[in-house]
């Protein structure tokens, strides 16, 4: 039962992060095409940056305590990156420089999305793996 709960939680967390990233990307693209002004865009992005980081932290923690070492290890670099950004106080989007950094911010988030999708796929594979093992 715990195992099932764990998997459900994992998927929910990953999908939440993906949603948050998608939201940020949409805001950035809107900004690029001038559908939104930079003040709104950055303040909305900044609202969700910390939640995203925290959720990612929770995700890593669950994997660590749940004994899913492999998934924990592959999500560790991203956690490290987040923590480093936070420590350097660079995690928030800067309204004054947002246009100069637009491409970089977008690239960063796209990369994260790709990364999480990989993590997600690996989770599914390992879920299927465990399920088949249980069946046998």
């Amino acid at each position: 039962m715990a195992e099932v709960l764990y998997w459900i939680l994992t998927f929910v967390l990953i999908l939440t992060i993906l949603c948050i990233l998608g939201y940020q990307l949409i805001l950035l693209v809107d900004l690029e095409f001038d559908y939104i002004n930079p003040y709104d865009s950055t303040s909305r992005i900044n609202q969700v940056v910390l939640p995203e980081f925290i959720i990612h932290g929770i995700f890593c923690f669950i994997n660590l305590t749940g004994g899913h070492w492999f998934i924990f290890l592959i999500s560790l670099p991203c956690l490290y990156y987040n923590v480093r950004l936070y420590i350097k106080r660079e995690h928030l989007a800067d309204v004054t420089e947002i246009y100069n950094k637009l491409n970089w911010e977008k690239k960063r988030r796209l990369f994260k999305v790709a990364y999480l999708v990989v993590v997600f796929v690996i989770s599914i594979v390992s879920l299927v793996w465990t399920l088949t093992e249980e069946v046998h």
């Binding site: 003040y39 303040s43 909305r44 800067d94 309204v95």
Partner: protein, 1013 residues
């Protein structure tokens, strides 16, 4: 306050208090148009390529080269195809009017090829039968096979193989021709053909003519269309064999010393910009209806036609815009009022009506020059066309003849009623401010300026002072004396009497004057050391946020209380050279960036005046100015007795100059090109909209453009700068600058049309930005690398066809680039490392470079050095005749004669240098009785004698040339160390000093690196 604050109301929900910030559709300036958001933003329309692009003579307009077509500037029709004009005798600088291609019926080139392949044509042309008999029968074959022969000077000189290669002197009529290896100048060229120089003169404008003559009918045909290259054969003697080498680069310096081991550049022959900044006249000749280069200057007055070509131009590609530059005396920008109709604009790309738009269909339609869309002419704007296709009312319509006009903007361009000019002063009154005498100078200056503040009678004014508490002043007109209100709770700022702190100046005039009179005495016994700058800033914001306006901050000590307090960041020598170095030049506390963003949103522009003798963290304070289109004035160790005059003048200028309020600026260009990055003091409100809460004539903005399409099919590119602003009188206006530039296919043309001033301006802004993320060393290397790459590419153009070993070649248009590059690397902002310049001064210099106009930047980089003693001593020269003191000397120690008196003027200060053995007369007359005393304690005042008056006259003249800054004079005596060192010697950029290379050495370095490829 922070932008990330989740509870903050979002933008659209805000009332009209943020004029442009509101959701984009209602922003009148955004291209969605005056009518709120009825169509998607068509900034860069994506229509199919203009039809006439491929076929130059298509239906886009009446046949192009025919004079009298609609929209055409009356080209000299008779001369255009008149073969009877003999080409050779044109020795003057006047544009040769001879007929171009029409003279060569046998020329096998169809018009389309003519546009691009000039060089082959020349070879053919010289054989064309109708040419005058004086033509040498030599085909210019060496040019033909070259991949990219330069088209312009196509020098037809054929020298013998042993003759030294000739140096073709500057092609621009206005250029001095003294530099560039005079001895290298092939003597025969000069002696035999004095006419040559004259003929070369107008070459540049002519060369671009092919592009012009094929405009789809909406471009004025150039007045000096005929290419000069055609006629030159007429003036060239049949000398030399066919294999003679002609050189196409306009200037070259080759000084290899045979016999010595190392190649050397002779310092005497290096080019020096002793004439100051010379605005290129190229474009004005080609497109007389362009706006003046005062307003817009492109780094090269040509747009490369393809991405691959653009990538070979390694120097920055972009523009420097000074939208409100002061026109020279008497000239005024015409103001056009379309009321009751709206401003005439293109329906699709929102380009404003300009001289390059063509009217067709009997005046009922006009074709947009930018996107080629056929628009209906509004009925109020309709006028018939005359026989030549011009509107009959063209002479009453300045917008159809002038590149720069102002439109009165109707109500669609306003989000709120135009704001009145607002000045709010935030003055530090802590003990150091009192001691320096700053408060007194500021109060007196403001008082003296009250009559001249723009916008009477709507002007509003307000004051707050701060030390460890914040003091507000109620200046309601009903009071006789201002009322002081003290707020000491710094954590929870509130505004007492929010309505009476900002008052109408004309109503409360007497209260304001009383306040200013008492301000300096009010705090004279203040012993408060602290500075609650952050909270004071916040409260000023709260007072001003209703209206916006200009916030002037006078700051004398490091902010020490409340939010935004700053630490004495160790300006640690160990940090230099490490990866953390740039952090020193960045704001320490994000508070300042957040405040700046808020200021910009509420149309507040911040000017920072900093006075401290200790570290004040200009890097942090300057951020406020950086994003609000403000300015940083830094007076290190301010003492009113010494620096008072400077502050007085600069503050006066700041308060009284014509200012544009709540402005936004956008630069539009035709499809295929896009402005990508912007550099200067402003905040971007959308990808290409610059928010400028207050802007004036002393600010320039730089931008870089890039090609979006691999190949441009048009032959002319149009740029239009539009500045929407509220004038001080309360009228909403749009200032529009329109500029047309040719699209070129040859790299050589890009080089030929390059503008050193604009390139240097962009390069230096890029370098300053680089110092914010990297080491100083890296920024300097980047400048050098950029120049080297540019020259290397230029060299490659000619390397095949000429012997270039041990020679440095560069285009005439860029002859000063190397020197300015050196000067930039040695400027206060970029020079050396830790010990060379105090951190605050470095940051302040960086802020100056980011705002100043091209002219002032070049003056700052290569200041003038003038010898004065002769003028002062010679009684025969009339005192009014200041011509004799206009001769600038090279900035090298060798220019200084120890018997002389020199003045060094970089536009920001004057340094008067007394030679060691200067005649005591001069010193005595100028300095009075204490001439032998220590000069640092003496100030220069007018003495009662002719000599001193003359010196004052010179100083006054120097100061009057550009009033944006006041040049305070510093006196220094030869050998007076260390003062002489840092005031003057370090600024002699041509001399080697410390780790910095001198001019000759720098040229050698560059030349080596160029040849390394």
């Amino acid at each position: 306050m922070g932008t990330e604050n989740p509870g903050r109301p979002t933008f659209p929900s805000r009332p009209a208090s943020s004029p442009f910030g509101a959701a984009q559709p209602v922003t009148p300036f955004s291209s969605t148009g005056p009518v709120a958001g009825s169509e998607p933003p068509p900034y860069r329309p994506t229509p199919p390529a203009p039809p006439q692009a491929a076929t130059p003579f298509s239906s886009a307009g009446p046949a192009a080269a025919r004079p009298g077509a609609p929209g055409f500037r009356p080209a000299p029709p008779g001369r255009f195809s008149d073969p009877s004009i003999p080409p050779p005798p044109r020795a003057s600088n006047a544009p040769p009017p001879g007929g171009p291609y029409q003279q060569f019926p046998a020329a096998p080139f169809p018009p389309t090829t003519q546009q691009q392949q000039r060089a082959p044509m020349m070879g053919q042309a010289s054989q064309a039968p109708p040419f005058p008999a004086s033509l040498p029968a030599q085909p210019q074959m060496p040019f033909v096979p070259m991949g990219s022969p330069p088209s312009q000077s196509a020098a037809p000189a054929h020298l013998g193989p042993n003759a030294p290669p000739p140096t073709f002197q500057p092609t621009f009529p206005g250029y001095p021709s003294k530099q560039a290896g005079a001895e290298m100048q092939a003597p025969p060229m000069h002696s035999n053909f004095p006419a040559n120089q004259g003929n070369y003169g107008p070459a540049p404008p002519a060369a671009a003519s092919p592009f012009l003559s094929h405009q789809g009918g909406y471009v004025p045909s150039p007045p000096m269309a005929p290419p000069v290259g055609m006629q030159q054969p007429g003036s060239v003697p049949p000398m030399g064999s066919v294999q003679g080498l002609a050189e196409d680069f306009n200037a070259l310096t080759m000084q290899t010393r045979p016999g010595t081991m190392d190649p050397l550049f002779d310092p005497k022959e290096l080019p020096r910009p002793l004439e100051g900044d010379v605005e290129s006249k190229n474009l004005a000749d080609m497109y007389p209806m362009n706006c003046s280069p005062r307003y817009v200057r492109l780094t090269t007055s040509a747009v490369p036609s393809s991405q691959s070509l653009a990538s070979r131009w390694h120097l920055p590609l972009g523009a420097v815009v000074c939208p409100l530059a002061e026109p020279p005396g008497g000239e005024e920008v015409p103001i056009v009022n379309f009321a009751p109709a709206s401003v005439v604009r293109c329906r699709r790309c929102r380009t404003y009506v300009n001289p390059y738009m063509t009217f067709t269909e009997a005046g009922r339609k006009f074709r947009c020059n930018v996107c080629t869309l056929l628009n209906d002419v509004p009925s109020e704007y309709y006028a018939q066309l005359d026989a030549t296709g011009k509107r009959v009312d063209i002479n009453q319509r300045p917008e159809l003849t002038k590149g720069t006009v102002e439109f009165v903007a109707p109500a669609e361009y306003m989000v709120r009623p135009p704001m009145p000019p607002v000045y709010f002063f935030l003055i530090d009154v802590s003990i150091s401010a009192v001691r320096s005498g700053m408060i007194e100078v500021v109060a007196n200056t403001i008082k003296s300026c009250l009559d001249e503040l723009p916008g009477f009678p709507r002007t509003q004014i307000g004051f707050a002072t701060f030390d460890s508490t914040i003091h507000f002043y109620n200046m309601k007109s009903s009071l006789t004396q201002p009322q002081m209100l003290v707020v000491s709770d710094l954590d929870d700022i509130f505004i007492p009497l929010p309505d009476d702190l900002l008052v109408n100046l004309s109503e409360s005039r007497s209260v304001v004057e009383t306040f200013l009179d008492s301000l300096s005495t009010m705090f004279q016994d203040n012993v408060n050391l602290e500075s609650a700058f952050g909270p004071a800033l916040k409260s000023a914001f709260m007072v001003m946020s209703q209206l916006g306006g200009k916030l002037l901050i006078f700051q004398n000590s490091l902010p020490s209380l409340g939010v935004g307090r700053l630490k004495l960041r160790g300006d640690d020598s160990r940090v230099y050279g490490t990866d953390k170095e740039h952090g020193l030049r960045l704001p320490e506390d994000p508070f300042y960036k957040q405040m700046a963003a808020e200021f910009s949103k509420y149309q507040i522009s911040t000017n920072v005046y900093a006075f401290s003798d200790k570290y004040t963290d200009i890097a942090s304070l300057g951020t406020l100015a950086k994003y609000t289109a403000g300015q940083v004035y830094y007076y290190p160790a301010f003492q009113s007795a010494i620096h008072g005059e400077k502050l007085r003048h600069e503050l006066r200028r700041d308060l009284t100059r014509e200012t544009a309020w709540e402005a936004v600026m956008r630069i539009r260009c035709a499809k295929g090109v896009r402005f990508t990055t912007y550099h200067g003091n402003f905040m971007l409100r959308s990808t290409d909209l610059l928010a400028l809460p207050a802007v004036d004539c002393d600010k320039a903005f730089a931008m870089q453009l890039s090609l979006e399409e691999t190949l441009l099919t048009t032959q002319t590119m149009y740029f239009q700068v539009a500045l929407l602003y509220t004038a001080s009188c309360g009228e909403r206006r749009i200032r529009v600058h329109t500029m047309a530039v040719p699209v070129v296919t040859e790299l050589a043309d890009i080089y030929r049309l390059a503008d050193t001033g604009a390139i240097v301006s962009l390069l230096s802004r890029l370098a300053i930005e680089k110092t914010l993320s990297q080491k100083l060393e890296d920024a300097r290397t980047a400048v050098q690398l950029r120049i080297v790459k540019g020259l290397r590419e230029y060299r490659n153009l000619y390397a095949v066809q000429h012997r270039l070993a041990n020679r440095m070649i560069y285009p005439e248009s860029l002859k000063f680039l190397m020197l300015y590059g050196l000067a930039l690397c040695r400027s206060t902002a970029l020079r050396g490392g830790y010990g060379d310049v105090p951190l605050d001064e470095r940051c302040a210099a960086g802020h100056i470079i980011m705002t100043v106009t091209i002219k002032r930047l070049l003056k700052l980089l290569y200041p003038s050095l003038i010898r004065l003693d002769e003028y002062l001593l010679k009684a025969s020269v009339p005192a009014d005749d200041l011509k004799s003191v206009e001769r600038r000397l090279p900035l090298t120690g060798e220019s200084l004669d120890s018997r002389g008196l020199y003045i060094y003027d970089d536009g920001f200060r004057c340094i008067i240098w007394f030679g060691r053995v200067i005649s005591p007369d001069i010193a005595k007359n100028l300095l009075g009785a204490d001439f032998a005393a220590e000069l640092s304690k003496t100030t220069l005042g007018e003495q009662d004698n002719e000599m001193s008056r003359r010196l004052m006259r010179v100083l006054e003249k120097l100061r009057n040339t550009d009033r944006a800054y006041y040049q305070l004079s510093h006196l220094v005596r030869q050998g007076e160390q260390p003062k002489e060192g840092f005031l003057l010697l370090a600024n002699l950029v041509e001399d080697q000093m410390g780790g910095n290379s001198g001019y000759a050495e720098w040229m050698l370095q560059i030349s080596r690196q160029v040849q390394q490829s």
